[in-house]
């Protein structure tokens, strides 16, 4: 059984009704994944609303591109309080690649340092090594791409540190998926751009049978119909056996 995840950008908007309505249109999604490239509504607020209204799992995506360690820790604490357990960490897109190009890039932490901080919070420590009353109840994953030996090394480092699952940007050409799955022994969710999906059953069957745990589709605002169509197509796996 594969989890189908709809990844949505947090909108730059002053109201949330249309965002919730768009998310509702993605009926075939088993979970949502909220990413804020910068300047949009906060994933914590949207995640809380989505989980409350649609009763589906929500993955919150946090990155240090525009937040220092204090702000990131605050996000983790708040996710824990709101009962949003699944967090995906990445380095995040550089602000110069977002709509707000003039914003200062932060990167107070890199992904490994952020992961270490999150795992320590889970173990009951704040970033200054003070003890929390109790560890955070979070399931911490990372976003990665594996197209080179160095990227594979980094991913293995993160898994060794304690990353619990991986959102793997696809395609990641360095290793066959089944081999990667064996090497890291963690749930892998393939992360795909909506425009990059070609519905070739034979090729995808091989991917789906490689041991992955799910498919994450990045769905741009306004393309929910196409996104739902793609999710639905994956939900029909194993398709026809012909």
């Amino acid at each position: 059984m594969h989890t189908l995840i709809a990844q949505l950008d947090c909108p730059i908007a002053s109201e949330v009704e249309s965002f919730i309505a768009s998310a509702k249109r993605l009926k075939s999604a088993g979970a949502y994944h909220l990413y804020n490239p910068g300047g949009g509504l906060h994933p914590l607020a949207l995640g809380s609303l989505l989980q409350g209204e649609l009763k589906k799992e929500v993955y919150l995506h946090f990155h240090p591109a525009d937040c220092n360690r204090a702000a990131l820790f605050s996000d983790l604490l708040t996710a824990n309080v709101l009962g949003l357990e699944k967090v995906v960490l990445s380095a995040g897109q550089h602000p110069s690649k977002t709509y707000l190009k003039e914003a200062k890039p932060v990167y107070d932490l890199d992904l490994l340092q952020f992961l270490r901080m999150a795992l320590r919070a889970k173990a009951g420590f704040d970033p200054a090594n003070g003890a929390l009353e109790e560890g955070l109840t979070l399931q911490i994953g990372v976003q990665a791409k594996v197209e080179s030996p160095l990227e594979l090394l980094r991913l293995k480092q993160m898994v060794d540190m304690g990353a619990e699952y991986v959102f793997l940007k696809w395609p990641s050409k360095h290793l066959p998926l089944s081999q990667l799955q064996k090497e890291i022994a963690r749930p892998i969710y393939l992360s795909l751009g909506l425009d990059k999906i070609e519905k070739r059953e034979r090729e995808w069957r091989e991917v789906m049978e490689s041991g992955i745990s799910g498919i994450n589709i990045r769905i741009p605002a306004g393309q929910e119909a196409k996104g739902e169509e793609a999710l639905k197509w994956f939900s029909r796996y194993p398709w026809s056996e012909s």
Partner: protein
């Protein structure tokens, strides 16, 4: 060295508009190498652009060193007293040194861009950020803080595509260069080390480094 570019002529003229009598100070060091504040540039401003307004001009050996500024400005003491403003063609350090020494209105003719190395004349590359915690020994001599647009100590990021940088797509990802260099040196194990994030409490501006009487430079750093 500090890499500088000259401000737009209109901007400089606008700054000078309310000061009829001006002294120009150039830089014999970095700005001369960058050809932004050396003798030729100072001469052009004195003889062509500000003709008739300039009481004196001088190339200071290193305007960022107050001792040299004091020494060199003695040669134009009288003109300085008469001047309404001083136009300084150096980095920001030089402008402030001149201001501290003369107590006059000092105007910058240049913009300081970055610490760079000169490959050859007219080709300067940012390679150091004076972070105070040099990791070049760990990275095969490649400064990640400077050459990775995200300044990551553990890269690459997930934005690298076909070995190219997410931010500057025309550049190879610097982490590829680090990997290749460490592999060639037989030091790939260095990539597995986990570095702590920067301790910003050690970098409170403005930073100072002051030798105590009787101590060596090394002791002062420690």
């Amino acid at each position: 060295m500090m890499i500088t570019t000259q401000k737009a002529k209109e901007e400089i003229l606008s700054m000078l508009s309310s000061y009829p009598k001006v002294v120009i100070i150039g830089c014999g060091g970095c700005a001369a190498t960058c050809q932004t504040g050396g003798s030729e540039q100072v001469k052009e401003w004195e003889e062509k652009i500000l003709r008739g307004k300039v009481l004196a001009s001088i190339i200071c050996e290193e305007p960022c060193d107050e001792r040299l500024v004091r020494r060199d400005l003695r040669r134009i003491k009288r003109e300085l007293e008469e001047a309404d403003a001083i136009l300084v063609f150096s980095c920001g350090l030089g402008v402030q040194s001149v201001m501290d020494v003369t107590d006059k209105v000092c105007l910058p003719g240049l913009n300081s861009q970055f610490y760079g190395k000169a490959e050859r004349l007219g080709r300067f590359f940012e390679r150091c950020q004076a972070c105070g915690d040099c990791l070049l020994g760990e990275t095969g001599g490649i400064c990640l803080l400077t050459r990775c647009p995200k300044g990551l100590r553990h890269g690459p990021c997930e934005g690298m595509t076909d070995g190219k940088c997410e931010v500057r797509e025309e550049l190879d990802c610097v982490w590829k260069a680090v990997y290749d260099r460490l592999e060639a040196l037989g030091q790939l194990e260095r990539l597995s080390r986990l570095h702590d994030p920067e301790d910003w409490s050690k970098h409170l501006h403005p930073q100072e480094l002051i030798w105590q009487p009787g101590s060596s430079a090394k002791e002062a750093e420690e």
